[in-house]
Amino acid sequence: MTFPLAATPETILRPSSGYILLAIFGIAWVALGKWWGRRAQSYDGFAVAGRNVGLALGTATAVATWITSNTTMLAPQFALQLGVWGSVAYSTASFGLFAFAPMSGRIRTLMPQGYTAVEFVRRRYGRLGSIPFLIISLFYALTWLISMAMAGGKLLNVLSGIPYEVGMTVVVGVCVLYTLFGGMYAVIGTDFIQSIIILIGLVVVAVAVLMHVDMADVHETLRTERPMLLSVLFPAALMALFNNMLFGFGEIFHSNVWWSRAFAMRDGVGPKAYALGGLLWLPVPVVAGFLGLAAPALGIGISQPDTAGPLVAATLLGTGGALLVFVVVFCSLASSIDSLLAATSDLMVNDMIEPYAKKELSDAAKRKLSMFSIVALGVLSWAVAWGNNSTLATVLFFAGPMVGSCIWPIVGGLYFRRASPVAACAAMVLGSVAGLIAYELIFPFVGALVGAAVSGITFGVLMFLHPDQFDFATLAGPKRPRGADPQFASAGTASAETAGKETPGADQSGTVQSGEID
């Protein structure tokens, strides 16, 4: 492998500049992680930032986490391939944040001492529901993590000529280090700075682009050269609109990235933070997408559609623009990778290791296991991303049908007593299978749509045929050791009558009563 330092004709930023920026921001994030990490003495501090995060950091972390490098890369690609509807379609992913806002408050109320989404599903639906949910959660988290690592290597290479392997390694390595040092404190703290940089950077780049090209020219060029991009009735774009919205709902509702933040925010902050986060995120794909729409009018040739935005900005704004885009992209990558590392390590500790441990894990042991999990996840994503053998869109949207099938089991599980383990399990399995078949055989943009639809119908029918009478108050209790928890032995075995008698307060052992009624 060579380490070029001079700019090549294809890149706008010199590799040496890229290395310097990587070093500056890498050191800054790690130092901040170490500094904030002083607060993370207990496992609660490390995993959920002490459960006391305020509105400013809560809102910023919702925005920053949802602005992935895919937002800055795929939104322009969507616009370039699907037109105006493409940008709007991408921005519908913010609806998931709006919808999750009230759910975050309920999650915090139902499980004041909770850590993960899988923990909720396990206690709500038992093993029957938690196995498919854990598989989907891990698949999605790893897919997202690997796609972020790949995006890092690819983008830094496109912008500055830094070899893919080097850029990817540095991005993953820096995120692993500061998450390791500071846990959720470091993740949320850096998210605040990253969200400010991303939002301001995006505004500066878009304004600069507008100073180079008139919007009337963009509109006219599209109308004459690519009229479909302006079409109000572009079929593929309309399908993408609904598919992306449901994909967003599924991603946010099921992912522990969002649940861990709901647990981390101070009581009453979650609903406001997620609603404001959605509002702040809503315009980002539209603004980023405009860079893609402007490419034809500017005469910029795009060889790789998913790098349209950064290339447009860097081409128009020269070195300054390239530096800005580089920083924005690095922040977008870091804000998502750190969240995934922290949230997925929580899953590994609380849902894969602790339930099967022979004895109750101490606070210190859980903290150590978390750190080990973060390193393991970093190494795994680095190793898989090294090959760079798949396109970003394919990697990202392959998970769509699966997460789309989680929407109804999560919503039903949070709000409806009748939602039962059988209904949840069947909805996730059948929805995922149908969605993946549709993704492969019909069209990728209908995968999440079909997954959510089949899952919804299955869930509704089975909830009617096999209803539960779940007592939500039992979720507030502490977790029980595996051997004593009926949920670990058999899903849905406790009766509703028992649940009624042993409700919160009375059930200090934390027995979970989510069985079906015969």
Partner: protein, 41 residues
């Protein structure tokens, strides 16, 4: 073919820019408010 009018494209992009700028400002204001009440963390 029915196409998006220019005014709508302008509204989307300019509106998006304004929201992004206002969002960054709002985050800083929230942080100031939280820090005054010592409720950042």
């Amino acid at each position: 073919m029915v196409i998006f009018p220019l005014w709508l494209l302008k509204t989307l992009v300019i509106g998006g820019l304004v929201l992004c700028g206002a969002g960054a400002a709002a985050l800083i204001l929230f942080l100031i408010a939280d820090s005054r009440q010592k409720r950042i963390w």
